[in-house]
């Protein structure tokens, strides 16, 4: 029987798979590496689901041990199973396992097959740790390890320069946000003296409306923590890494860069929700960032031609939705959308992967008419797109509707309008993608498409079913059970369902799909005409608002230049000072040497010369003939005798 204490096995099992695969994978396991990863992930799923089920029915688990002493405060590591973590755990284990099954087929024959599964297992381990972690530090550690896995997997085909660059970009961009996050929880620790989620919730819940806590410090903490979200969830202005991250293998894009890791940023806000509720002045910033991101990314997605990039911008846009929901105090709506999005976006990426696997091209302009050749892929892809576009009764409709309702209900009509516009664009670009890919005529006859093996289509269908039904717990059919379930944890404002919002939502979705149908299937001349009509908009969208160019010109180049400048400073000024000191010392010692040579030594040499001169006289006595010496001795003796005689 599974008990809560088995929960630690959930992250540990994939970690074991990582260790085994990284050390023994390439040499001994080879293709079996995949099965090890899938098996551990499945077992983790089997352990996790009953626990999640128990939490859904009202249970609550926590356990910890002291890991480190921060001053005199113990920092306890452990797990915390509350509604939020149970929901995420449910999603991550299921989606993660399915994607790994898919990857087994997708990565078949890759020379670094086992390494891929090692990294994926490490990622699963980190993600699961993050989900069940009970404090900010453990959360952050898992968060960073996920970043590492993302780095390793984006750069999986590191022989390609673009992949190497993209991996570095991803790591560094998210790192900027991560540092904000780190500072955020340091600030939080200074303000409330704990990093524990449960303790924080209790502490902050008691202080709503009071001034006992330093709200300035708390606002700062919330703002900094939100920086982490901006980095990880690819929000404006740090969203630039996510599209490039598509250099990684497609299952990775699905797992890390669509379903789980990027959602961790939203999860972070949800985790800190009691903090954000306490500092209402931060929430508008969150809303603004989310809305801008949602709109901007959708706008860029309109003109992209790489199938994965369209999906990547779509992901950014949807993450913007979730963040907006959080900013509007919609914890339930945001989390709900996180879950539904994970299912249909994972499905979309896997579908795209299936298309790439079958056609070996990524540019949608070279596809077309694939429906007949890849029926399973096409049908599941369309289901997911419908869910994303927000067509009832698919899951995406319910969750998106909740977010729109939050905006509408709270009176933020501007946000509401922008989100509606975004929803329209979402429907449009998704169906542009579908019509260009699966319908019409095949545009490139060198492409010989074939349907992917069952190992890949089976996960597609599983996720498709998920995309359809996962919205039900938050829909009126279950009386918004999910939102109430979330509210058990932290209270947040809820709004009455509105028919107006639903009608608007459905209308823009249908409108978007229709427009795409007309432009890309019926009147194919319209699209270039529109692009010509609004050239500046088109360029702005096609060039992604010139963000990359901006960063390269104004951030990366100056950083490197500053590095070189300081190195020059180091080599010339600081080291120059050192060498200058040495030169001055050498000069002074030169002066001293002159004095030494000509004055001190001069005197000594004079003495020497004088002695030498004397010597030239006296040395004449030194004949070397022994008898001369004897004679001298004898004469000396005689002199003494004579003196002696004279004296006496």
């Amino acid at each position: 029987m599974v008990t809560a204490n088995h929960l630690i096995w959930v992250p540990v099992l994939p970690f074991i798979a990582f260790v085994v695969n990284i050390f023994f994978g390439a040499r001994f396991l080879k293709e079996r590496a995949a099965w090890l990863s899938v098996a551990t992930s499945t077992v983790a799923c089997v352990i996790a689901l009953p626990i999640c089920w128990a939490v859904f029915r009202g249970a609550h688990f926590a356990n910890d041990f002291t890991w480190l002493m921060l001053g005199t405060t113990p920092l306890k590591f452990g797990y915390l199973m509350d509604p939020l973590s149970a929901t995420l755990l449910f999603m991550v284990t299921i989606v993660g396992t399915l994607i790994q099954v898919y990857a087994t087929g997708y990565m078949h024959g890759d020379p670094r097959f086992s390494r891929f599964f090692a990294y994926v297992s490490l990622f699963m381990s980190a993600m699961l740790t993050l989900v069940i972690s009970n404090n900010y530090l453990l959360f952050f550690m898992a968060w960073e390890i996920m970043g590492l896995c993302s780095y390793l997997l984006i750069g999986f085909y590191f022989e390609k320069d673009s992949a190497a660059n993209a991996s570095k970009k991803a790591f560094l961009t998210t790192r900027v946000g991560d540092i904000g996050f780190l500072l955020g929880f340091l600030t939080l620790f200074t303000a409330i003296g704990t990093l524990d989620f449960a303790q924080m919730n209790t502490l902050l819940a008691g202080h709503v409306g009071h001034t006992a806590l330093n709200t300035g410090l708390l606002s700062m903490a919330a703002l900094f923590i939100f920086c982490g979200t901006i980095g990880k969830s690819a929000q404006f202005p740090l969203h630039v890494w996510l599209p490039d991250a598509m250099e990684g293998p497609t299952p990775v894009s699905a797992l890390i860069h669509a379903a789980t890791m990027v959602a961790a940023g939203v999860f972070l806000v949800a985790r800190s929700f009691s903090l954000f509720m306490l500092v209402p002045n931060v929430l508008p910033i969150v809303t603004a960032i989310g809305t801008i991101t949602a709109f901007m990314a959708a706008f860029i997605a309109l003109t992209q031609n790489d199938i994965k990039r369209v999906l990547a911008y779509s992901t950014i846009s949807q993450l913007g939705y979730m963040v907006t929901a959080m900013g509007l105090s919609g914890l339930g709506a945001g989390t709900f959308h996180l879950i539904t999005h994970a299912f249909f976006k994972a499905l979309l990426f896997l579908g795209a992967g299936s298309v790439i696997h079958g056609t070996h091209v990524q540019d949608i302009r070279e596809m077309g008419g694939l429906f007949k050749k890849m029926p399973h892929t096409a049908v599941t892809f369309i289901i997911a797109s419908l869910a994303l576009a927000g067509i009832p009764p698919l899951s995406g409709f319910w969750s998106k509707d909740e977010i729109l309702l939050s905006a509408f209900g709270s009176g933020n009509y501007l946000v509401f309008g922008v989100l509606l516009l975004t929803a329209f664009m979402t429907a449009f670009y998704m169906f542009r993608l579908i019509f260009l890919t699966f319908f019409g005529q095949a545009r490139n006859h060198d492409v010989h498409a074939h349907e992917s093996p069952a190992l890949m289509t089976l996960p597609l269908w599983c996720l498709a079913v998920g995309s359809v039904v996962i919205g039900i717990p938050g829909s009126p059919f279950m009386h918004h059970w999910f939102q109430k379930f979330m509210a058990e944890m932290v209270h947040y404002p809820e709004y009455e369902p509105s028919a107006v919002v639903m009608a608007c939502s459905i209308a823009v979705a249908v409108l978007g799909i229709t427009l795409a149908f007309v432009m890309y299937l019926k009147k194919t001349t319209w699209a270039p005409a529109v692009a010509k009509k609004f050239p500046s908009f088109y360029r702005l969208s096609f060039n992604k608002f010139y963000f990359d160019e901006f960063y390269v010109t104004y951030l990366i180049k100056p950083f490197h230049a500053l590095g070189r400048l300081l190195f020059g400073f180091d080599a010339n000024v600081v080291d120059g000072g050192v060498n200058g000191t040495a030169s001055v010392t050498m000069f002074l010692s030169g002066v001293k040497q002159w004095i030494d040579t000509y004055i001190v030594d001069g005197f000594m040499n004079f003495l020497g010369t004088a002695v030498y001169f004397l010597n030239s006289v006296t040395k004449r006595f030194q004949t070397g003939v022994v008898q001369n010496y004897l004679l001298l001795a004898f004469l000396g003796f005689l002199v003494f005798i004579i003196l002696e005689l004279k004296l006496t």
């Binding site: 004449r620 030194q622 008898q627 004679l631």
Partner: protein
């Protein structure tokens, strides 16, 4: 026993010493010089014995000294001859004025 007066003995030893000194100063052959030095040493030996006999309260003192001097002279001669031998091996000469290594 007819006692020879002290003065006689002293004059004898003086003569002996003078001969030795002369030899040491003028002979070129190193062996000759060595022999001359022996003469001087023996002259002093005679003096020692004579003074011991005529002036000392215990005549043995002078005799012992004389014995010492004889022994010393023997060793000095041995060392001297060894040096001469070595010198001859290197320089092929035993002439004192041809060996002036200590010259300036």
């Amino acid at each position: 026993m007819i006692a020879i007066p002290l003065q006689h003995i002293l004059i004898f030893s003086l003569l002996l010493f003078a001969i030795g000194l002369y030899g040491a100063l003028v002979r070129r052959n190193i062996i000759g010089i060595l022999i001359s030095i022996e003469l001087m040493v023996n002259a002093s030996n005679i003096n020692l014995i004579a003074f011991s006999k005529y002036t000392s309260l215990s005549p043995e003192t002078g005799q012992i000294f004389a014995l010492f001097v004889i022994a010393l002279a023997a060793t000095a001669a041995a060392v001297g001859l060894a040096i001469v031998l070595a010198l001859y091996r290197i320089r092929k000469t035993v002439q004192a004025d041809e060996v002036h290594l200590l010259k300036w």
